[in-house]
Symmetry: C2
Subunit: 375 residues, 2 copies
């Protein structure tokens, strides 16, 4: 295969995972990001949880998420083999809890839908839940296990990807990209903040929420993505406090708690606020903490480490936008929304194929940039 | 009056306010602190609230607090006149709220005790509370106004004190004091981390909770103080959200909210944990935020700025230890506990008098170091 020079705009999980696939195929990859691995990928919880997300997604996206979840086993091993650094993939499964009767009813309805899709959802008795997670409160009217929903440690993943890319000779340019401009010949070039221009064979645009800050890109591309605020809280507990990912409905709101191997727990919610307001609000922090304590009373004695706000790239139809833009040398890997970590095993694979072949792989036909014209 | 060389160990509100009084009397003052104005005084709420604290304190301490509250008007003006920087003294009074019937009963009992002490506590109707603070929730079973309990902005105060001392020529040595040692002649000298020795005419020891880290001091002094953890949360709201200090009982716990002129609100509680554990725990943060939202629902939309842990110097009998140590050149200004800002107007005045006259002023006879022998 011909060796290509590829410029990747954006050093989040979308850009770095694609860079890794391309660098492993011996292409010359350069990543442009003023602060790689410190955006939404840094604040993620790292859940690989297509089943739990089934209620939020259209069927084709759900199938892509399930497929990507399966790809993660090999992809994680590939990254770890190059970097020598673990990505913290854990396959304990996810425990789903409904806090009060209305939450239980919602989750029962969801589990019917999940079973129709072939997802195994195993109801847990009070005794079984206590066996799996002795520190949970309750009793809760609903508890279930979804074995297929697992997790990795997003921060370890990003560190591992950075190290792997380093050892593959990928170059990092720690500058903002001010523009991706069309040249006279129809090809696109990268313009850096300091005015320098770079003209790789292919430009992969994967800057997450920040695509709107890059000038020169087709309007249809930049207007397709909106930043959707997400906040997480990290606390430090003892490793015995929580062993499985818990995903709960508490008074109609979704809360998740993701344990790391060292006793850290990432607490998040699926609440959504559109816009680039970087402040953390009092209400969601208070709600997350008090809901977490309802599920896992011992978390009250955990140490509060940090709260963090980042921006998830939501597309106009909540599905990713991936592949070649028209017949140009511009490729897109955008709109991963709340599924950036999960989707990257698959999207990195297929966007790399698109760059190498110039064609949209069948697996991501549904998510191509051609639908932007119609938007 | 003879000009003295005075070494002040500790750059919190206790040390700096005494340094200010002494420097204004033309003594040569040097303050020793690796990081002045960044301990408990930085995390304080700045309430000058002797009446609200009446339930926690013995009568003599309460009288000292009331006296110091009165002194603050002139003392604030004096500091501001030298520094040209406001200390943010606000005299709107404090609103006391009882959240549920048991809280109301507790506060009614407290108000009887306060009235016996001559403190005016004015009950507020629902309508009056809403006039004063339109954004409060409720209705609450108890609301009252205590005009005499006011506030200043502790961070502005510390900045103003630093600037005032600077313009008075006070020297700052930004190093830790490793020891305050007795010399052969019975006098005490200051030993810095780098080994340098300083031998002023008088040594004023005012390092707050950290007195236990200084060697050489009499054991009776160092063992008299324990660090008592306090945490506060700062949020940013619009200035209309809150106008008065609110001090509330919510399900038996005391919560306070102190508005600053720019819309910042300091939220704190009177919970106490002994020891130098610098981590913030999940439960008190969650409780403070959710209780604050019960009293002032709009605070949910405020921005979360920071949470902070510092250590209040609690003495063995919860009263300050102030004055000359035996017949030496060692003077103490210790154990301000939860009242450091409030007490400093009085204690700085009387400890300065003690240094200048060598005698314990009558006003602080009760708080002298002689009671250490008996402890």
């Amino acid at each position: 295969m011909a060796q290509l020079q590829i410029g990747v705009v954006g050093g989040g999980v979308a850009g770095l995972s694609a860079a890794f696939r391309l660098a492993k195929h011996n292409h010359q990859v350069t990543v442009f990001d003023p602060d790689p691995a410190n955006g939404a990928s840094h604040a993620a919880a790292g859940m690989l949880a297509p089943a739990s997300e089934a209620n939020f997604s259209e069927i084709p996206l759900l199938r892509l998420m399930q497929h990507s979840n399966e790809l993660w086993t090999d992809f994680a091993a590939e990254i770890e083999a190059v970097s020598g650094m673990p990505v913290g993939l854990r396959r304990e499964g996810t425990i789903v809890i409904g806090f009060e009767p209305n939450d239980a009813r919602d989750l029962e309805r969801l589990s019917e839908f999940q079973r129709e899709l072939g997802i195994e959802v195993i109801r847990l008795t009070r005794h079984q839940l206590k066996e799996l997670e002795p520190e949970t409160g309750g009793p809760f009217p609903y508890a279930a296990m979804i074995d297929s929903d697992v997790q990795l440690d997003n921060r370890k993943l990003m560190d591992s990807l950075l190290a792997a890319l380093d050892s593959l000779g990928t170059r990092f340019v720690r500058q903002s990209v001010s523009a991706v401009n069309e040249r006279g010949d129809g090809g696109y070039e990268i313009v850096l903040d300091d005015g320098a221009k770079v003209q790789p064979d292919a430009v992969l645009v994967a800057p997450g929420s920040y695509v709107g800050t890059i000038s020169g890109l087709p309007k249809a591309v930049t207007r397709s993505i909106r930043p959707v605020k997400g906040q997480i809280i990290r606390v430090q507990a003892s490793p015995e406090l929580l062993r499985h990912v818990i995903r709960a409905k508490v008074y109609g709101k979704t809360l998740y708690m993701v344990p790391r191997s060292d006793g850290e727990i990432v607490i998040g919610a699926t609440q959504e606020e559109v816009g680039f307001d970087t402040t953390a609000k009092v209400r969601p922090i208070a709600e997350m903490l008090s809901q977490a304590a309802l599920l896992l009373p011992g978390i009250g004695e955990a140490d509060f480490i940090e709260h963090m706000v980042r921006f998830r790239p939501g597309s106009f139809d909540n599905s990713p936008i991936v592949g070649r833009y028209e017949d140009s040398n511009l490729f897109l890997c955008l709109g991963h929304f709340r599924h950036g970590i999960l989707l990257s095993a698959a999207l990195s694979k297929y966007v790399a194929m698109a760059i190498e072949t110039g064609k949209q792989p069948l697996e991501i036909e549904q998510f191509s940039a051609t639908r932007l014209e119609a938007s």
